[in-house]
């Protein structure tokens, strides 16, 4: 299987030569007329961001996540370190490094941001040395964010304790992680964020805004079941969405043991990607929401006793890079 490290762009440098390599990289860029930071101002790295690719990451997936981080860095310039484990082990600990940089030109002359990426590939036997090596690539007086992509081995947490315990946020995508990943013994569990929950922000906002116009007592009175149906691509989103609805209804005063919360794959005739139904055991009251992520169209239908409201709306999931910023900063 090709190495994920090879799938990422950059110039090979010795691990000891990362700082020098970065300086030379910008200098040669400038010489060849390519964008480069004219001053340290333009290298406006305000956060450290570690993307730790799991052993199960494929080269294509690695390239895709790297692209997401690049897009994120256009908005939030960061010192980015990408950690790439190697599955084939060597007897002697070995680590390889690559460096990469991009300058983003904005709309004004002062809007030029240059971002540096450091990629580290490490063998299994190099794992005990990893954190020291990473620490030299970070700006340690700035906050650290850690994205554990396809992290699947809870037993390995201790290996990364330094990074995990320093991180302001640890990001996990429960759609592609083991089911119990969120309950691993993370050093600071309160810092973990599920990217699925963050991706759902536009839907939580839209549904939340709609329902917030009704008194909580009306929403929960006589509610028998909450049904969320989904297509296969958003099964994790449906699971997280129903859990959110459960918490919000409990906050409205609902006794959740009297309400059934169901998540089911969509029926063949259903055209929407996600659907929510509040079932009151009678035609009225009712609340329905249908969202088609393909077309971006959603439809609310509700009657809580004040007449039928039928309201078209937009629906989307947050883009991957915006999901990262939502998970990190909000």
């Amino acid at each position: 299987m090709p190495d994920i490290f090879e799938a990422l762009p950059g110039i090979d440098v010795p691990v000891s030569g990362i700082p020098k390599g970065l300086t030379q990289m910008w200098a040669s860029n400038a010489e060849s007329g390519q964008p480069s930071p004219e001053s340290e101002d333009a290298k406006a790295m305000q956060v450290n961001f570690v993307l730790h690719l799991g052993l199960n990451t494929t080269p294509d997936d690695a390239a895709k996540q790297f692209e997401t981080v690049v897009k994120f860095a256009r908005r939030y310039p960061s010192r980015i370190v990408v950690l790439c484990p190697r599955s084939n082990d060597e007897p002697a600990p070995e680590m390889r490094a690559k460096i990469y940089g991009e300058c983003f030109l904005g709309r004004s002359k002062s809007d030029k941001r240059c971002v540096e990426f450091v990629m580290l590939s490490y063998s299994k036997s190099a794992r005990p040395y990893l954190e020291n090596q990473v620490s030299t690539a970070l700006s340690t007086d700035l906050p650290l964010y850690y994205w554990a992509h396809r992290f699947s081995a809870s037993g390995r947490l201790a290996d990364y304790r330094y990074l995990l315990s320093r991180a302001k946020r640890v990001l996990i995508d429960s759609a592609i992680s083991p089911p119990d990943a969120l309950t691993y013994p993370w050093p600071n569990p309160e810092t973990t964020r599920d990217l699925v929950y963050c991706r759902l922000l536009p839907i939580r906002q839209s549904v939340g805004q709609f329902l917030a116009a009704y008194p909580p007592a009306k929403i929960i009175a006589g509610l028998k079941a909450v049904n969320v149906r989904h297509d296969s691509a958003v099964a994790a989103e449906a699971r997280v969405l129903v859990a959110w609805l459960q918490r919000r209804l409990a906050a409205c005063g609902a006794k959740n043991d009297t309400i059934a919360f169901n998540v089911t794959p969509r029926a063949a005739e259903m055209t929407s990607s996600l659907a929510i139904d509040f079932d009151y055991g009678a035609p009225c009251p009712f609340f329905r929401w249908r969202g088609d992520l393909g077309t971006g169209h959603a439809l609310f239908e509700a009657d809580f006793g004040s007449g039928l409201t039928r309201l078209p709306a937009a629906v989307s999931l947050l883009s991957p890079e915006n999901t990262l910023s939502e998970a990190m900063f909000f």
Partner: protein, 513 residues
């Protein structure tokens, strides 16, 4: 409002993601501000998914315009003035819920038709909708609009419920203390103060909001933020443009009314106020009023605390620029100042003896707005005496509000080498470099704040009056003396000599940011 006080379905969402069903009515819908700022602001809020699905836009103006034409004008405005390109699916969604009502501002029947128009939207929707009125008209019709909002029942709709009506009022809030009080009385006869949002778009700028964060979230600044460590404060709001085609308006206004009384006084209040007890709107506004009321009355007249001037012919950006009196629509013996500078003293424990210099002008060297905090020099002579070796600058913390929002700090540092030589250096933080320049414009933030009922970045009635209380005696004096004492400055310069005198008495000079 804390999370637990909000509707359970809004818990965990930022307050800006919880706007209720809303109809925004823009009075002055065919005006310049609507096209340049308000329509693009609404569009960008939609782009960022910050509008509720049940958002409706209603334009109101004297000129009859069919709905489709109004939507077309809005479409053009977005293409020309929005910070982001027009995205059809975003605009189509808003446009589908955009309508126009024609009517006079002093015609009660027209307002009743507007009320029926909104009632019909509400009925079709099947639930209550908040009404947010944006008065973006010339000030001469503020009062009739407000009175008719009251008489038609629009102002009191859903009163005492979360969907109660709100009104945003553009500056100027009066032209002197008397008219400001009259306007406030008219407003209060129809609206409660918590329904009123007096807008000063400067308060929506990131750096202005950042001023509070820098002051109160960093332990290093607040202990120094007083007369013991600060030598003086300079607040500059400089414009490169002249009066252009707005000569008629500007003749009735002038720099003191147009800029100093509102923008620069707000910047001063945020710079000088005491720490508020909380970030609640009223806590912050209470502190702003306190500090504005603590400003000593100005000494007016020769060698006083005030300078005024008009720009004369000069050069801007390498091109000849005419003087103010040669501009279109300007009276030959105009008594209107295009530049004003004030030296203020704040009579409280924190600021006794620290001068606050405020200036604003048109046709200045460059467009720049900033707050500069000049710190006292260190005691002793360790690095003094040999000026060639010791180029010591006063530490200056400057908040650049526009353009290139950010802040910088001037520090003295050692030049590398065997000898000890010093040189001032600048540590900078720029929003554009760090977060990208495509951040929300002030109007987006402020319209959304009004929709969600957050008045923090708006001016309360008593704030406007406190500011007018200070400026009105100056205006009265200038009116009484005609052109006597009116200085001039070349277009494209940093201001008149009389303004230099204000600062030079303390051995200082104006910054040229």
């Amino acid at each position: 409002m804390s999370d637990s006080q909000r509707h359970p379905f809004l818990h965990g969402l930022s307050k800006h993601r919880g706007a209720p069903p809303t109809v925004v009515v823009i009075f002055g819908a065919s005006g310049d501000l609507t096209a340049r700022k308000l329509i693009p602001a609404v569009y960008n809020l939609g782009y960022d998914n910050l509008l509720p699905a049940d958002f409706f836009l209603v334009g109101y103006g004297r000129k009859p315009i069919p709905d489709a034409e109004f939507r077309g004008l809005a479409d053009e405005a977005i293409k020309e003035f929005s910070r982001r390109e027009l995205k059809a699916d975003v605009w189509d969604r808003i446009a589908a819920q955009t309508t126009y009502v024609a009517g006079g501002y002093d015609d009660k029947e027209s307002f009743e038709r507007l009320a029926q128009h909104i009632d019909a939207i509400e009925k079709k929707l099947g639930r209550d909708v908040q009404r947010l009125f944006y008065i973006s008209t010339p000030p001469s019709v503020f009062v009739p609009i407000i009175q008719n909002l009251g008489a038609s029942g629009l102002a009191s709709k859903h009163r005492h419920s979360p969907q109660h009506s709100r009104v945003i009022i553009e500056k100027p809030f009066g032209k002197d203390l008397t008219s400001a009080r009259e306007l406030n009385e008219a407003i209060r006869s129809v609206f409660d103060e918590n329904q009123v949002y007096r807008i000063d778009h400067y308060l929506g700028k990131e750096t202005v909001q950042d001023l509070l964060v820098q002051r109160f979230a960093n332990a290093i600044f607040e202990p120094l933020w007083n007369r013991n460590f600060i030598d003086s404060v300079q607040i500059t709001v400089a414009e490169e443009v002249g009066v252009g085609s707005r000569g008629g308006y500007y003749e009735q206004s002038g720099a003191l009314r147009d800029m100093i009384q509102n923008h620069t006084m707000q910047l001063l209040a945020l710079t000088a106020m005491e720490p508020p007890g909380s970030l609640h709107a009223e806590a912050i506004r209470d502190e702003k009023v306190k500090v504005l009321n603590a400003i000593q009355p100005l000494t007016i007249g020769p060698a006083g605390d005030v300078a005024r001037a008009q720009y004369a012919a000069g050069m801007v950006n390498g091109k000849a620029a005419p003087g103010y009196l040669e501009e279109e629509g300007i009276a030959a013996h105009s008594n209107t100042e295009t530049y004003a500078a004030l030296r203020l003293s704040i009579n409280n424990w924190r600021w006794q003896g620290v001068p606050f210099y405020l200036r604003s002008g048109k046709r200045m060297a460059r467009r720049v707005s900033e707050i500069a905090i000049n710190f006292r020099r260190p005691p002793g002579t360790l690095f003094a005496g040999e000026t060639a070796r010791f180029d010591l600058a006063a530490n200056t913390l400057s908040f650049q509000i526009q353009p290139d929002e950010g802040l910088s700090l001037i520090l003295n540092t050692k030049v590398p080498g065997l000898e000890t030589r010093t040189q001032p250096v600048k540590m900078s933080f720029r929003y554009a470099t760090t977060f990208g320049s495509n951040t929300a414009e002030a109007y987006e933030r402020l319209v959304l704040d009004a929709m969600v009922g957050d008045g923090t970045l708006f001016i309360r009635g008593d704030e406007a009056e406190a500011s007018w209380k200070l400026c009105t005696p100056v205006l009265d004096y200038w009116r009484s003396v005609g052109r006597t004492g009116m200085d001039s400055y070349a277009a494209g310069s940093w201001g008149p000599a009389s303004a230099d005198t204000l600062v030079s008495s303390r051995g200082q000079c104006w910054r040229q940011p």
